[in-house]
Protein backbone atom coordinates (compact mmCIF):
# COMPACT_ATOMS: atom_id res chain seq x y z
CA UNK A 1 0.00 0.00 0.00
CA UNK A 2 2.71 2.41 1.00
CA UNK A 3 5.63 1.59 -1.29
CA UNK A 4 4.85 4.55 -3.54
CA UNK A 5 6.40 6.89 -0.97
CA UNK A 6 10.05 7.85 -1.28
CA UNK A 7 11.67 8.46 2.11
CA UNK A 8 15.00 10.22 2.65
CA UNK A 9 16.56 9.01 5.91
CA UNK A 10 19.30 11.17 7.50
CA UNK A 11 21.84 10.09 10.12
CA UNK A 12 25.37 11.02 11.11
CA UNK A 13 28.22 9.57 9.06
CA UNK A 14 31.47 11.52 9.50
CA UNK A 15 30.37 13.12 12.79
CA UNK A 16 30.29 9.64 14.35
CA UNK A 17 28.74 6.20 13.82
CA UNK A 18 27.72 5.38 17.41
CA UNK A 19 24.06 5.11 16.36
CA UNK A 20 24.53 3.10 13.16
CA UNK A 21 22.69 0.01 14.52
CA UNK A 22 19.76 2.16 15.56
CA UNK A 23 19.73 3.76 12.07
CA UNK A 24 19.47 0.21 10.70
CA UNK A 25 16.44 -0.54 12.84
CA UNK A 26 14.76 2.75 11.87
CA UNK A 27 15.39 2.08 8.16
CA UNK A 28 13.78 -1.37 8.59
CA UNK A 29 10.70 0.26 10.21
CA UNK A 30 10.52 2.89 7.45
CA UNK A 31 10.18 0.20 4.79
CA UNK A 32 6.59 -0.25 5.98
CA UNK A 33 5.88 3.29 4.75
CA UNK A 34 7.80 3.43 1.48
CA UNK A 35 11.16 3.08 -0.24
CA UNK A 36 14.16 4.37 1.70
CA UNK A 37 16.36 6.26 -0.77
CA UNK A 38 19.44 6.39 1.53
CA UNK A 39 20.08 2.85 2.89
CA UNK A 40 23.86 3.55 2.95
CA UNK A 41 23.33 5.80 6.04
CA UNK A 42 22.51 2.62 7.98
CA UNK A 43 25.24 0.47 6.41
CA UNK A 44 27.72 -0.59 9.14
CA UNK A 45 30.42 -0.88 6.44
CA UNK A 46 30.24 2.89 5.89
CA UNK A 47 32.52 4.30 8.60
CA UNK A 48 33.10 7.87 9.79
CA UNK A 49 36.24 7.94 7.62
CA UNK A 50 34.82 6.18 4.57
CA UNK A 51 34.29 8.00 1.32
CA UNK A 52 32.36 5.21 -0.44
CA UNK A 53 28.70 5.71 0.36
CA UNK A 54 26.81 3.48 -2.04
CA UNK A 55 27.91 4.32 -5.59
CA UNK A 56 29.19 7.82 -4.83
CA UNK A 57 32.97 8.06 -4.39
CA UNK A 58 34.07 11.69 -4.07
CA UNK A 59 32.58 14.36 -1.82
CA UNK A 60 31.00 16.29 -4.74
CA UNK A 61 29.50 13.00 -6.01
CA UNK A 62 28.08 12.24 -2.54
CA UNK A 63 26.71 15.78 -2.21
CA UNK A 64 25.14 15.89 -5.66
CA UNK A 65 23.67 12.38 -5.38
CA UNK A 66 22.15 13.19 -1.97
CA UNK A 67 20.66 16.48 -3.18
CA UNK A 68 19.14 14.63 -6.15
CA UNK A 69 17.58 12.05 -3.78
CA UNK A 70 16.39 14.84 -1.46
CA UNK A 71 14.67 16.54 -4.39
CA UNK A 72 12.96 13.25 -5.31
CA UNK A 73 11.70 12.29 -1.86
CA UNK A 74 8.18 12.67 -0.43
CA UNK A 75 9.32 12.88 3.19
CA UNK A 76 12.50 13.26 5.25
CA UNK A 77 13.07 11.32 8.49
CA UNK A 78 16.18 12.42 10.40
CA UNK A 79 17.73 10.91 13.53
CA UNK A 80 19.21 14.06 15.11
CA UNK A 81 20.64 12.88 18.44
CA UNK A 82 24.25 12.89 17.17
CA UNK A 83 25.08 16.47 16.09
CA UNK A 84 26.05 16.35 12.41
CA UNK A 85 26.72 19.05 9.82
CA UNK A 86 25.48 16.82 7.00
CA UNK A 87 22.17 16.04 8.71
CA UNK A 88 21.65 19.75 9.51
CA UNK A 89 22.49 20.67 5.92
CA UNK A 90 20.05 18.13 4.48
CA UNK A 91 17.28 19.34 6.80
CA UNK A 92 17.99 22.96 5.79
CA UNK A 93 17.87 22.14 2.08
CA UNK A 94 14.74 20.03 2.70
CA UNK A 95 12.96 22.93 4.45
CA UNK A 96 13.76 25.17 1.48
CA UNK A 97 12.22 22.49 -0.79
CA UNK A 98 9.10 22.43 1.44
CA UNK A 99 9.52 18.72 2.21
CA UNK A 100 7.63 17.06 5.06
CA UNK A 101 10.22 16.48 7.78
CA UNK A 102 10.27 14.36 10.95
CA UNK A 103 13.22 14.81 13.32
CA UNK A 104 13.76 12.09 15.94
CA UNK A 105 15.67 13.04 19.11
CA UNK A 106 16.65 10.91 22.10
CA UNK A 107 16.91 13.32 25.08
CA UNK A 108 20.40 13.19 26.66
CA UNK A 109 21.60 14.37 30.07
CA UNK A 110 23.38 17.75 29.95
CA UNK A 111 22.61 18.25 26.25
CA UNK A 112 19.98 20.13 24.27
CA UNK A 113 18.83 19.73 20.69
CA UNK A 114 19.79 22.62 18.36
CA UNK A 115 17.39 25.57 18.49
CA UNK A 116 17.51 25.64 14.68
CA UNK A 117 15.94 22.16 14.59
CA UNK A 118 13.61 22.39 17.61
CA UNK A 119 12.54 25.90 16.59
CA UNK A 120 11.77 25.01 12.97
CA UNK A 121 8.51 23.24 14.00
CA UNK A 122 5.74 23.92 11.51
CA UNK A 123 2.32 22.27 11.81
CA UNK A 124 2.11 19.28 9.46
CA UNK A 125 5.38 20.12 7.66
CA UNK A 126 8.18 20.00 10.24
CA UNK A 127 7.87 17.91 13.38
CA UNK A 128 10.46 17.11 16.08
CA UNK A 129 9.72 14.22 18.43
CA UNK A 130 11.61 13.31 21.59
CA UNK A 131 11.48 9.51 21.64
CA UNK A 132 12.48 6.21 23.09
CA UNK A 133 12.87 3.41 20.60
CA UNK A 134 9.75 1.53 21.76
CA UNK A 135 7.61 4.54 20.78
CA UNK A 136 8.88 4.74 17.21
CA UNK A 137 6.09 2.65 15.60
CA UNK A 138 3.36 5.03 16.81
CA UNK A 139 5.44 8.16 16.05
CA UNK A 140 6.04 6.96 12.47
CA UNK A 141 2.38 5.95 12.03
CA UNK A 142 1.26 9.41 13.12
CA UNK A 143 3.77 11.24 10.93
CA UNK A 144 2.94 9.34 7.74
CA UNK A 145 -0.79 9.70 8.40
CA UNK A 146 -0.24 13.48 8.43
CA UNK A 147 1.97 13.32 5.32
CA UNK A 148 -0.92 11.62 3.50
CA UNK A 149 -3.51 14.09 4.83
CA UNK A 150 -1.31 16.93 3.64
CA UNK A 151 -0.88 15.23 0.26
CA UNK A 152 -4.66 14.92 -0.14
CA UNK A 153 -5.10 18.54 0.89
CA UNK A 154 -2.47 19.67 -1.62
CA UNK A 155 -4.08 17.64 -4.37
CA UNK A 156 -7.55 18.99 -3.51
CA UNK A 157 -6.17 22.52 -3.64
CA UNK A 158 -4.68 21.70 -6.99
CA UNK A 159 -7.97 20.31 -8.32
CA UNK A 160 -9.85 23.39 -7.20
CA UNK A 161 -7.33 25.64 -8.95
CA UNK A 162 -8.99 27.71 -11.65
CA UNK A 163 -6.80 29.36 -14.28
CA UNK A 164 -7.46 33.08 -14.63
Amino acid sequence: MATHRKIYFCGSIRAGRDDVDLYGRIVEMLKKYGTVLTPFVADPNVTHLGSNEGEAKTDPEIHDRDIRLLTECDAIVAEVTQPSLGVGYEIGRGVAMQKKILCLYRPQPNKRLSAMIRGAEKEGLFVTEDYEEENLPSILDNFFKKVDQRKRKDSLDWKSYEPM
Copy 2:
Protein backbone atom coordinates in the same frame (compact mmCIF):
# COMPACT_ATOMS: atom_id res chain seq x y z
CA MET B 1 35.02 51.08 3.35
CA ALA B 2 33.58 47.67 4.04
CA THR B 3 30.96 48.27 6.69
CA HIS B 4 28.15 48.07 4.14
CA ARG B 5 28.48 44.28 4.09
CA LYS B 6 26.31 42.18 6.40
CA ILE B 7 28.04 38.99 7.50
CA TYR B 8 26.31 36.00 9.10
CA PHE B 9 28.80 34.08 11.26
CA CYS B 10 27.95 30.46 12.19
CA GLY B 11 29.49 28.40 14.98
CA SER B 12 28.39 25.58 17.25
CA ILE B 13 26.27 26.47 20.29
CA ARG B 14 24.39 23.46 21.70
CA ALA B 15 26.71 20.92 20.02
CA GLY B 16 29.57 22.25 22.18
CA ARG B 17 31.34 25.51 23.02
CA ASP B 18 34.98 24.31 22.91
CA ASP B 19 35.76 26.81 20.14
CA VAL B 20 33.96 29.84 21.55
CA ASP B 21 37.19 31.85 22.07
CA LEU B 22 38.23 31.16 18.49
CA TYR B 23 34.76 32.27 17.31
CA GLY B 24 35.40 35.53 19.18
CA ARG B 25 38.69 36.09 17.38
CA ILE B 26 37.08 35.33 13.99
CA VAL B 27 34.21 37.75 14.68
CA GLU B 28 36.81 40.43 15.54
CA MET B 29 38.58 39.80 12.21
CA LEU B 30 35.28 39.85 10.30
CA LYS B 31 34.54 43.39 11.53
CA LYS B 32 37.15 44.58 9.01
CA TYR B 33 34.85 43.37 6.23
CA GLY B 34 31.43 44.41 7.49
CA THR B 35 28.85 44.14 10.25
CA VAL B 36 28.57 40.75 11.94
CA LEU B 37 24.85 40.03 12.39
CA THR B 38 25.35 37.15 14.87
CA PRO B 39 27.79 38.30 17.60
CA PHE B 40 25.97 36.08 20.19
CA VAL B 41 27.59 33.00 18.55
CA ALA B 42 30.91 34.24 19.95
CA ASP B 43 29.53 35.34 23.34
CA PRO B 44 31.18 33.23 26.10
CA ASN B 45 28.08 33.81 28.26
CA VAL B 46 25.99 31.80 25.79
CA THR B 47 26.54 28.19 26.88
CA HIS B 48 25.63 24.89 25.21
CA LEU B 49 22.59 24.73 27.52
CA GLY B 50 21.58 28.38 27.28
CA SER B 51 18.41 29.45 25.58
CA ASN B 52 19.07 33.19 25.68
CA GLU B 53 20.95 34.04 22.52
CA GLY B 54 20.84 37.81 22.21
CA GLU B 55 17.23 38.95 22.40
CA ALA B 56 15.68 35.64 21.35
CA LYS B 57 14.38 33.50 24.20
CA THR B 58 12.51 30.44 22.89
CA ASP B 59 13.69 28.02 20.20
CA PRO B 60 11.15 29.26 17.62
CA GLU B 61 12.26 32.86 18.37
CA ILE B 62 15.92 31.89 17.91
CA HIS B 63 15.13 30.02 14.68
CA ASP B 64 13.00 32.76 13.16
CA ARG B 65 15.42 35.56 14.17
CA ASP B 66 18.36 33.63 12.66
CA ILE B 67 16.52 32.92 9.41
CA ARG B 68 15.65 36.62 9.17
CA LEU B 69 19.33 37.56 9.64
CA LEU B 70 20.37 34.88 7.14
CA THR B 71 18.01 36.35 4.57
CA GLU B 72 19.47 39.84 5.17
CA CYS B 73 23.14 38.92 4.95
CA ASP B 74 25.54 39.40 2.03
CA ALA B 75 27.83 36.54 3.02
CA ILE B 76 27.99 33.59 5.41
CA VAL B 77 31.20 32.61 7.22
CA ALA B 78 30.94 29.30 9.12
CA GLU B 79 33.47 27.67 11.45
CA VAL B 80 32.68 23.99 10.77
CA THR B 81 35.25 22.07 12.82
CA GLN B 82 32.78 21.18 15.59
CA PRO B 83 29.95 19.16 13.99
CA SER B 84 26.69 21.03 14.63
CA LEU B 85 23.14 20.56 13.37
CA GLY B 86 22.44 24.29 13.59
CA VAL B 87 25.50 25.26 11.53
CA GLY B 88 24.65 22.60 8.92
CA TYR B 89 21.05 23.81 8.81
CA GLU B 90 22.07 27.45 8.36
CA ILE B 91 24.47 26.50 5.56
CA GLY B 92 21.75 24.46 3.86
CA ARG B 93 19.24 27.31 4.05
CA GLY B 94 21.97 29.73 2.91
CA VAL B 95 22.76 27.60 -0.18
CA ALA B 96 19.06 27.58 -1.07
CA MET B 97 19.12 31.41 -0.79
CA GLN B 98 22.20 31.53 -3.10
CA LYS B 99 24.31 33.25 -0.46
CA LYS B 100 28.10 33.46 -0.78
CA ILE B 101 29.45 31.00 1.78
CA LEU B 102 32.91 30.43 3.30
CA CYS B 103 33.37 27.33 5.49
CA LEU B 104 36.45 27.26 7.72
CA TYR B 105 37.73 23.83 8.82
CA ARG B 106 40.68 22.92 11.07
CA PRO B 107 41.82 19.44 9.99
CA GLN B 108 41.71 16.96 12.89
CA PRO B 109 43.38 13.57 13.30
CA ASN B 110 41.03 10.64 12.64
CA LYS B 111 38.18 12.91 11.52
CA ARG B 112 36.83 14.13 8.20
CA LEU B 113 34.65 17.10 7.33
CA SER B 114 31.11 16.20 6.20
CA ALA B 115 30.85 15.32 2.51
CA MET B 116 27.74 17.53 2.34
CA ILE B 117 29.91 20.54 3.22
CA ARG B 118 33.15 19.63 1.41
CA GLY B 119 31.19 18.45 -1.63
CA ALA B 120 29.03 21.60 -1.91
CA GLU B 121 31.97 23.60 -3.35
CA LYS B 122 30.84 25.95 -6.10
CA GLU B 123 33.21 28.40 -7.76
CA GLY B 124 32.81 31.85 -6.25
CA LEU B 125 29.68 30.93 -4.27
CA PHE B 126 30.61 28.15 -1.85
CA VAL B 127 34.20 27.73 -0.65
CA THR B 128 35.63 25.43 2.04
CA GLU B 129 39.12 26.20 3.35
CA ASP B 130 41.25 23.99 5.59
CA TYR B 131 43.05 26.47 7.81
CA GLU B 132 45.31 27.28 10.69
CA GLU B 133 44.47 30.45 12.57
CA GLU B 134 47.52 32.37 11.32
CA ASN B 135 46.24 31.99 7.73
CA LEU B 136 42.81 33.47 8.42
CA PRO B 137 43.63 37.06 7.38
CA SER B 138 44.62 36.04 3.84
CA ILE B 139 41.73 33.51 3.54
CA LEU B 140 39.21 36.20 4.55
CA ASP B 141 40.83 38.79 2.24
CA ASN B 142 40.55 36.40 -0.70
CA PHE B 143 36.98 35.43 0.05
CA PHE B 144 35.66 38.98 0.39
CA LYS B 145 37.53 40.03 -2.76
CA LYS B 146 35.60 37.32 -4.61
CA VAL B 147 32.32 38.32 -2.95
CA ASP B 148 32.84 41.84 -4.28
CA GLN B 149 33.79 40.62 -7.78
CA ARG B 150 30.66 38.50 -7.82
CA LYS B 151 28.59 41.47 -6.61
CA ARG B 152 29.95 43.65 -9.42
CA LYS B 153 29.23 40.88 -11.92
CA ASP B 154 25.68 40.48 -10.62
CA SER B 155 25.07 44.19 -10.78
CA LEU B 156 26.51 44.38 -14.31
CA ASP B 157 24.23 41.54 -15.35
CA TRP B 158 21.37 43.42 -13.83
CA LYS B 159 22.26 46.63 -15.65
CA SER B 160 22.48 44.80 -18.96
CA TYR B 161 19.07 43.21 -18.40
CA GLU B 162 16.62 44.22 -21.09
CA PRO B 163 12.92 43.70 -20.48
CA MET B 164 11.25 41.69 -23.28
